[in-house]
């Protein structure tokens, strides 16, 4: 009986499945505005799961027993490293995003870019330190 059903249902299924797959974000992709992925393993939807995944992402915090052959860090030192790791990760993510954007969309046109002097002077003005266009070099 399943053999009968297959020829009739099959043509419709691949298309819808492909569409669903296209909407589904890949690993590491953001999932903004994708409500239909409730079945997917969204670890950040469950508060308790969130905590665990974050922790496992950044090594065990304040582990009472350090790995054999390692000198343990103080909680502050460990927190400092984690914070540094987070900043480095954010920095690299931003750099990678710029590179990916250039790879995908190409280089910006020179005429669409803003001269440095203009940006610099406006920025110094915002910071309240512009000494009438002084050329700092």
């Amino acid at each position: 009986m399943t053999l009968h059903a297959v020829p009739y249902q099959h043509p419709a299924r691949p298309a819808s499945m492909r569409a669903a797959a296209a909407r589904r974000p890949g690993p590491g992709r953001s999932v903004q505005g994708v409500p239909q992925t409730a079945a997917a393993p969204l670890r950040w939807e469950d508060p308790s799961a969130t905590q665990e995944s974050v922790m496992s992402d950044e090594a065990a915090p304040q582990s009472p027993a350090p790995a054999p052959g390692r000198d343990p860090l103080s909680p502050q030192a460990a927190a400092g490293l984690r914070s540094y790791a987070g900043r480095e990760r954010a920095r690299t993510d931003q750099l990678a995003a710029v590179l990916e954007d250039l790879a995908l969309n190409g280089l910006p046109r020179v005429e669409d870019c803003t001269p440095w002097e203009e940006l610099r002077d406006a920025h110094y003005r915002r910071l309240g330190v512009l000494d009438h266009g002084a050329d700092v070099a």
Partner: protein, 85 residues
């Protein structure tokens, strides 16, 4: 606009929109450091290390400034696409 009469001919430097946005976070000292790096690049646009198989270059100086940039077709403009200070 300003007369670039003195010294060897410098390349102009322009920022992409995303690089310009990054500027907003910088303080005075960081902006000064960035400006020094930009002056160095404008004098010698080939200072940065080429990113393999691309037109981009990656420049880092001893003040912790990092610039990803490319040169315009006539090599007269350095276009900064990303910065770190």
């Amino acid at each position: 606009m300003s007369p670039s009469a003195h010294g060897p001919r410098r390349a102009r430097v322009a920022f992409s929109d995303s690089a310009a946005e990054q500027l907003a976070k910088l303080g005075v000292m960081e902006t000064l450091a960035l400006d020094r790096a930009i002056v160095a690049l404008s004098i010698d646009p080939e200072l940065g290390t080429p990113i393999p198989d691309s037109v981009l270059r990656d420049y880092q100086d001893e003040d912790g400034v990092r610039l990803l940039y490319f040169l315009s077709a006539l090599r007269s403009v350095v276009v900064v696409a990303y910065l770190e200070v």
